[in-house]
Amino acid sequence: MQGLEKYRRTIVDNKRAAILKAARRIFLKCGYTRAGMTEIAGDADVSTATLYKHFGSKEELFAAVVTEAARFHRQEFATPPQYATLAEKFAASMRLVLLSYAQSDLHVLMRVVIAEVPFAPDVARSMYANMIDRWHKGVALLLDRLIEEGELRPHDTQLSSKFLAGMVKESFIWPGLFNANYAVPQNPEATIREMVELFLTRYAVERQVAASA
């Protein structure tokens, strides 16, 4: 009985994963408006009925594709590896963010969404809330913890989390919004280290102490 239940759940999970994968491919290819649920079901090798059992509407399916990409994206910052200095910790996290961006083609999904703002405003709004804003909030929580631990001085982390995101995106991601052939630079290390320095010079307690000494 338990074995059968488990088997059924595995099948369902596999189908869900196949649908998400197909949907992502079709959305990227056709854009949101032109993507058809029937085509997605066909691509995922499931019936349209099965597709609708998993996702009630195209909007819901698209939101799930975005959330899937964003989940991967958020995880990277939330679990920074242990490093000796604050600067190393930040740099490692930024590198991971960049890597996850590059691998998940988030900017391509964003392009699809931005295109649809006049026609499907709710889809765009919820993508912003689910992906970009949730990422900001997650990073802000992390920064709050660093303030509690005495590493960063108290400041508006809702804002500074956006500053961090903005520096990474402007340096590495946004050119790809405009140029389909853009590739993230092979060696982003110097840029990452400098943006971390810029951030920590303003907000790290140890830098403030060093400056006043």
């Binding site: 392009r111 969404v113 931005i114 295109a115 649809e116 703002v117 006049p118 026609f119 405003p121 765009a124 709004r125 993508m127 912003y128 970009i132 508006d156 804002l159 956006k162 500053f163 995101a165 903005g166 520096m167 990474v168 995106k169 402007e170 340096s171 946004w174 050119p175 919004l177 405009f178 140029n179 389909a180 052939n181 840029t191 400098e194 943006m195 320095e197 810029l198 951030f199 010079t201 303003r202």
Partner: protein, 212 residues
């Protein structure tokens, strides 16, 4: 001579109304869905006249973008010239940078530039050249203007030597993440009430590391 002048005025005013109709149509329909015949009708000119001014939809769209950004690009470029923002030993850098950012944001929000930018991004897969041109024409040119100001400030020893190209990306990224990107995803988003505080915080971060 008078006739020639008259002809040119007529032609110029037709061009202006085509650009205006084109802009409105693109903003309403996006690029792919916009139709040249409809734009001609809205501009009250024949399709032949439209094609005499702009040989393709792509060219018309590029002209609309250039016009929108020609205005603000002009303003901004002008504003970053040393003769407008005088940079000398007495310049209050915080105030000057704030003025520059404020001008950029006002132009971006008041000229409907966000909506046009959205169309450009949307069309990257279908008309990549427009997007690349826009990127070069608007974003890179603006960044180059700001870089020039930073470089000048370094020469005058008002700022520490630093990689100003990188620096421009950092400060532009901070400003855009807070103001522009939310507006790209939601046409109803305007400038928030606390815009000045945000701008000053970004500037203070920059000056904390690169100021003297």
């Amino acid at each position: 001579m008078g006739l020639e002048h008259y002809r040119r005025t007529i032609s110029e005013s037709k061009r202006v109304s085509i650009l205006k109709a084109g802009r409105e149509n693109f903003l309403r329909n996006g690029y792919s869905r916009a139709a040249v015949a409809e734009i001609a009708r809205e501009a009250d000119v024949s399709t032949a006249t439209l094609y005499k001014h702009f040989s393709s939809k792509e060219e018309l769209f590029a002209a609309v973008i250039r016009e929108a950004y020609g205005d603000l690009g002009g303003e901004f470029n002008h504003a970053t010239e040393a003769d407008t923002f005088k940079v000398d030993a007495s310049t209050d850098l915080r105030k000057m940078f704030h003025g520059m950012v404020h001008q950029y944001l006002t132009a971006q929000f008041d000229h409907g530039a966000n909506a046009l930018l959205r169309i450009v991004i949307a069309e990257v897969p279908t008309t990549p050249k427009i997007a690349l041109d826009t990127y070069e024409f608007i974003i890179m040119r603006r960044a180059a203007g700001l870089k020039k100001v930073f470089d000048e400030l370094i020469v005058q020893k008002r700022m520490k030597p630093h990689d100003t190209e990188m620096g421009v990306n950092f400060i532009a990224g901070m400003i855009k993440e807070v103001f522009i990107w939310p507006a790209l995803f939601d046409a109803k988003v305007g400038l928030p009430a606390n815009a000045d505080d945000v701008i000053y915080e970004a500037i203070d971060m920059y000056l904390a590391r690169y100021g003297v």
